[in-house]
Amino acid sequence: MSEGTEREFLDARSLLCPLPVIRTEERVNQLAPGAVLEVRASDPGVLHDIPSWCRVNGHEVIEAREDGDEQVVVLKVGRDDDGGD
């Protein structure tokens, strides 16, 4: 587990959904609560799917935007007991 202070980066370009979500979950599982992860992707679906995945799993979406032909989602890792109802 790394400390949740520095911004981590995940390159999910050229992957099609749901693979960017899967890679995001794999990375988030290695991070501590409070860590910030920036995901860069090339499938427009991530702007829907990663925020949706964050909502159900208790992570906070800080930013979700287009950047030219790419998409950027920045999230903050929640605690283990966040998410669900």
Partner: protein, 347 residues
């Protein structure tokens, strides 16, 4: 049990798995969802690639289901291990190359592994006895329970009352009286239950969520295996089978011709792996050439590709042919008349 029981629910994105999770969650069980990526999922990929689908919603139905029920969802990549299920199914295929019974056993087995790793107590599926001809039958349910290793820890809330009580029922982790006795192909009981929960919108994959149930896709996959002489594939193969026009003029090579701009762009990413062909003089598709084409085969490929571009009526066009990761060269070719593209070449 002194603590809250925990169940992992297989979530496909369809109504049944969503209801099964909801029913058990309503009994006070902590439920988390799991969704498996096999590479053959219908939703997602083709929408992301094809330009004409850009305005369609790109919702992931499994995530959407989890949001509706209010549970966490874990999407797990099993595409590598899944190769063995597709290429060598113990129980054979369904109508196409769909190994439904092996697939279900495999997924329940993966859910069991996840359950054990994460300290959960049992597994939920949305299966309904009699719903599916291959995998959801009275005689196949015990096969899935046994071969997955889940045994008595596999609960099917929508039809549980039709079977002997499972461990979660016997132990009182769930109240059997509040489970259901659905059976058969009718969707009415599920739709009524959905209405009871106020669920008005849901996808209805009913087996259509997997490309392996698709006749056209299965034919292309079978062609690929035949051409290779073995049942091998990787994720890129699967991606490419989902797009383009597939034309095999000879056993040793096949063209995949893009049908629109989105596919043109996506297929351009495979330039290092395959020969590519395009018309230099006119707007038209990019074509990938898979296999071991000779120089003559590549000229034929260029002629076929030109037929699908704006230069189809020209006497000659300049075709750019690029070897995998190599330098392009130009060949003058005559676009092939449609009548010369044999019907049986279309995969």
């Amino acid at each position: 049990m002194s603590r809250q029981p925990k169940a992992v629910a297989l979530i496909s994105g369809g109504l049944d798995s969503m209801l099964a999770a909801q029913v058990v969650k309503d009994q006070g069980v902590h439920v988390e969802g799991i969704n498996f990526f096999t590479g053959f999922c219908v939703e997602g990929h083709t929408h992301a690639i094809r330009q004409k689908d850009k305005d369609k919603p790109k919702r992931n139905n499994a995530l959407w289901s989890a949001e509706q029920v209010g549970i966490k969802l874990h999407i797990v990549d099993i595409s590598q291990e899944y190769v063995g299920v597709v290429t060598n199914p113990k129980h054979g295929y369904g109508q196409n190359l769909n190994p439904c019974l092996d697939c279900k056993s495999f997924m329940v087995a993966k859910a069991r592994e996840w359950m054990e790793e994460n300290g959960f107590d049992f597994i939920i599926t949305g299966e309904v006895v009699g719903q599916r001809p291959k995998s959801q039958r009275r005689d196949t349910f015990p096969v899935i329970a046994d071969e997955s290793g889940a045994g008595d820890l596999l609960l099917r809330p929508l039809c549980a009352q039709r079977f002997e009580p499972t461990l979660p029922e016997r132990e009182g982790w769930v109240d059997r009286e509040q489970l259901y006795d659905f059976s058969g192909r009718s969707r009415k009981p599920q739709m009524a239950l959905a209405a009871q929960y106020g669920i008005e919108e849901y996808s209805q994959p009913a087996g259509g969520c997997c490309f392996l149930t698709d006749e056209n896709f299965s034919r292309k996959l079978a062609d690929l295996w035949e051409a290779r002489g073995s049942k091998e594939y990787d994720l890129d193969d699967i991606m490419l089978l989902k797009m383009g026009r597939h034309i095999r003029p000879a056993p040793n090579y096949k063209l995949i011709i893009a049908r629109e701009d989105g596919e043109n762009r996506f297929m351009g990413g495979y330039r290092k792996r395959f020969h590519t062909v395009r018309d230099l003089d006119n707007p038209g598709p990019l074509a990938l050439v898979q296999g071991e084409p000779s120089a003559g085969d590549l000229e034929t490929a260029a002629r076929i590709t030109a037929r699908y571009g704006k230069g189809r009526s020209a006497e000659q066009v300049r075709a750019e042919i690029t070897p995998p990761g190599g330098e392009p060269y130009v060949a003058e070719v005559a676009p092939m008349p449609p009548a010369q593209i044999a019907e049986e070449w279309h995969v």
